[in-house]
């Protein structure tokens, strides 16, 4: 915990930015002090990402000003912001798949040799140096295509380091990271702070804010609600100021009595991805697949649903075997999959809300082969109501919704088929605390009604509090199974990272 020097390194003062009628950011102010990590918290749609893009120079502020070392600065573009010593790490890494890792780090400022030509040797050397500073080993000449999300983050961070950035802005860098990698990230942040950099850290995992930040600013509806040293706030008042009201218990999992087997997976195998996966999910229970990102959890889900073909093994739903690689067959057998990546897989972002809700149920909405718009609208309205969807017009594209509401649309799309097995991958990734609670309550309701739920989550607390049983995957194999009682953070993490004799499943 470093003390904050008098003048902030970067001061955001009364900044506003609006898109048409939508005021994304209104009069936000926050100070970033050298050597300090500053957590920026808030629900989705609170305006955090817009603020980040203003700092990054992607958007120009409509009013208000940015002061660096007390001097007002105006960024004409991302380059300007970077030149001023601000570097931004976005939630999804932004790499050039076709270019080498080193070139990704130094794009636009590659070290030059004689005749202003790029000095590749020097470039690779510098890249390696940065990686050593980060304590990782990546081949700088290797193409970025095919890097794991974590390694992509590493490259992004390396990029930021190579700038010797004075201000480092991280927009949910941990969303896709495993605990191990998060740990490494925090060490990096520590290093940067020691070098006198200011860090703005955006996350939905409040624990992380407490673990690594000294100061916190909470945003709601585009406004900065309060800024305070971390030790002056508790999780509860943070949540209160985020959602603007008190929250009933966060993870209200009610115990249920599991019924007969719905999903029965035997010796499921997909070459090079996962191997010999066997498990069952019963009516009225939530089974969680835990493990590190890349351990093959989502891949198992995809194979069960039929998005990917399985190389061997069987998948039975209500005793009937599912054909290989046929999502439609799975759906007709009563399986629903709420995928990991909402924006890419879960929704057609440019389609209207009602059309997205109806997309998986069109078969039932036909008359003489034609879609009945009326019943389509009706279906959508029903589910919007049940899920308390916040929207202005059914005809708007889902891209206009906040992350949480988008997730509700995905859920509505699948619940509209009233499935008997719901596979839900990262149910609450990147959605705000309020909606998180709603989603969890919803899952409870479903299992209570006898739906079988297979849940995949990188958030241990979520897994531990929601799941009746926890299956841990490591390197594509099930390495442990815990009952609700046995499961705790330590045991699950050890099984996931393979740091202990595997508990017999």
């Amino acid at each position: 915990m470093t003390q904050s020097s008098a003048a902030p390194l970067l001061m955001v003062r009364d900044v506003s930015k609006s898109f048409g009628p939508v005021a994304a950011v209104q009069g936000v102010s926050l100070p970033l002090y050298a050597g300090e990590a500053h957590a920026l918290l808030g629900e989705n749609g609170a305006g955090k990402s817009t603020l980040v893009k203003i700092l990054a120079g992607v958007h120009g502020a409509d009013s208000g000003e940015l002061l660096m070392d007390g001097e007002p600065v105006v960024f004409k573009g991302p380059a300007a912001s970077r030149a001023a010593g601000i570097s931004v790490i976005y939630q999804e890494p932004m790499l050039f798949a076709d270019l080498s890792v080193a070139e990704n780090i130094f794009m636009g400022r590659q070290p030059l040799g004689v005749g202003r030509r790029i000095d590749r040797a020097a470039m690779n050397r510098e890249a390696t140096e940065v990686f050593t500073r980060l304590g990782v080993q990546l081949d700088p000449e290797r193409a970025a295509r095919g890097l794991s999300v974590a390694d992509q983050q590493i490259v992004e961070i390396a990029k930021a380091l190579s700038f010797n950035a004075r201000v480092l802005v991280m927009d949910e860098p941990t969303a896709a990271l495993t605990t191990v990698e998060v740990g490494r990230l925090f060490e990096v942040i520590q290093t940067l702070r020691d070098q006198g950099a200011a860090v703005l850290f955006i996350t939905h995992r409040l624990e992380e804010a407490f673990a690594s930040c000294q100061r916190v600013t909470i945003m709601r509806d585009g406004r900065s609600i309060r800024t305070a040293p971390i030790e002056d706030v508790t999780i509860d008042d943070i949540i209160r100021s985020m959602v603007g009201r008190d929250l009933d218990t966060l993870f209200p999992k009610t115990a249920t009595e599991p019924g007969e087997v719905v999903l029965d997976v035997e010796h499921l195998c997909r070459g090079g991805v996962f191997d010999d996966i066997s498990f069952q999910v019963r009516r009225g229970e939530i089974v969680a697949l835990a493990g590190l990102v890349g351990a093959g959890r989502s891949e198992v889900a995809r194979a069960v649903f039929g998005i990917d073909r399985r190389t061997s093994g069987t998948v039975r739903v209500h005793g009937a075997e599912l054909p290989n690689g046929k999502p439609l067959a799975a759906m007709n057998a009563g399986v629903a999959l709420v995928p990991e990546d909402r924006r890419q897989q879960g929704l057609v972002m440019e389609m209207s809300i009602d059309q997205n809700v109806a997309l998986a149920s069109l078969g039932r909405l036909r008359r003489f082969g034609l879609i009945r718009r009326s019943s389509e609208r009706e279906l959508a309205t029903t589910w919007a109501g049940r899920l308390q969807l916040k929207f202005s017009r059914m005809g708007n594209t889902v891209s206009t919704l906040s992350g949480g509401n988008q997730q509700k649309v995905v859920l509505g799309k699948w619940l509209a088929r009233n499935p008997s097995l719901l596979i839900i991958d990262e149910p609450t990734r990147g959605i705000d605390v309020g909606t998180k609670a709603e989603v969890h309550r919803l899952l409870n309701g479903l299992v209570a009604d006898g739906v079988a739920v297979l849940m995949i989550s990188s958030e241990l607390p979520e897994v531990l509090r929601m799941a009746d049983r926890v299956l841990v995957l490591r390197e594509g194999r099930i390495t442990a199974e815990f009952t609700r009682a046995e499961a705790d953070e330590d045991s699950v993490m050890r099984a996931a990272t393979g740091q202990s004799p595997v508990v017999a499943a």
Binding site: G57, V58, G77, P78, A79, A80, R82, Y90, M94, L95, F96, A97, D98, L99, E103, M107, G108, R109, Q110, L112, R116, R117, I118, L134, G135, V136, Q137, L138, D139, E141, R142, A143, R145, G146, S148, A150, D151, T179, V180, V182, G183, R184, F186, R205, E208, A211, G272, V273, L292, G294, A295, E459, L460, P461, E475, G476, E489, D490, T497, Q499
Partner: protein, 346 residues
Amino acid sequence: MSVITAPAPAPTDRPVSRLESLLRARELGIALAIIVVFGLTTLNNHAFAHAASIQQLLNGAALIALLGVGETLVIVTRNVDLSVGSVVGLSAYIIGDLFKHNHDMSVVLGFVIAIAVGAAIGAINGLVTTVARVPSLVVTLAMLYIVRGFDGVIVNGKTIDPDSIPTAFTAVGYRTLFGIPWLAIIVAVVVAAVGYAMRSFRSSRDLYAIGSNPDAAELAGIPAGRRVFTAFLISGALAGLAGALFLALHAQIDVSGGSGYELTVVAAVVVGGVAIFGGSGTVLGAALGAVLLNTINQALVASKVSSFWNGAIAGGLLLAAIAFDRWLSLRVARSLQSAEGAHRDL
């Protein structure tokens, strides 16, 4: 939430870099293909290996190769330029007409004007594409019509006859230096220069970045608009140059000059290993792609196969080429996955 510090992962890259070197050796692959075709043809017809017919191979491929260079720049940025064929026709006719009316116009000036005409059209393509941010495929398709139409209006049934073009100009089309046709030398120089630039300068690396991930390019502060504009500008200029060379080579030009080139060029570029959706590919590969297609055309006639087979074979080859690319990238992906697994191993 618990924070466990673990040793850093060490990705095992071996299989990757091997396959990547294979990818990089794409040019090598095409070169081999050319040699094979050439060799087989020579076996059943020794005349094919004569200096003369090698010159012919180079001359024949020169124009498409030249256009391929420009097209590569554009395609690498995830765009496409379909107007090149029309540009060739227009620039060739314009300077042809100038020569016709003032016979003692300097040859150099002729080239300069042709390039300028091409550059002008390239600029239009670039401006509309970048300023209005509209798909270049549509823009350049429209320009294909407009330029060809404009060409037709000014040509209006006239032709440029051989005797109205200064021999000093046509000489470029057939003179040789140490047995290498000037045409081929000019194109080779362009390929070498642009190829070198594409590897060694920041601005040209930007082109790859833009094609590889436009959003990231924007965030990296790369002036995408300006770069893409430049790519179209160069593509246009080279098409103009190609027009001049067309006139020099054929000593005649009418309204149909260069029509249909656009698809041939794209085909050559794709055969040359340039990814149609941008981000990767080299001008050398594109040029070699052009040489390969032309070699096959001539090899067919030379080996007394009916020239009727040209089309079918060229088409099949193109399909084979892209299928091969796909197969290769799948291999890379798979080997990466296993590398991935290994990497998680710690």
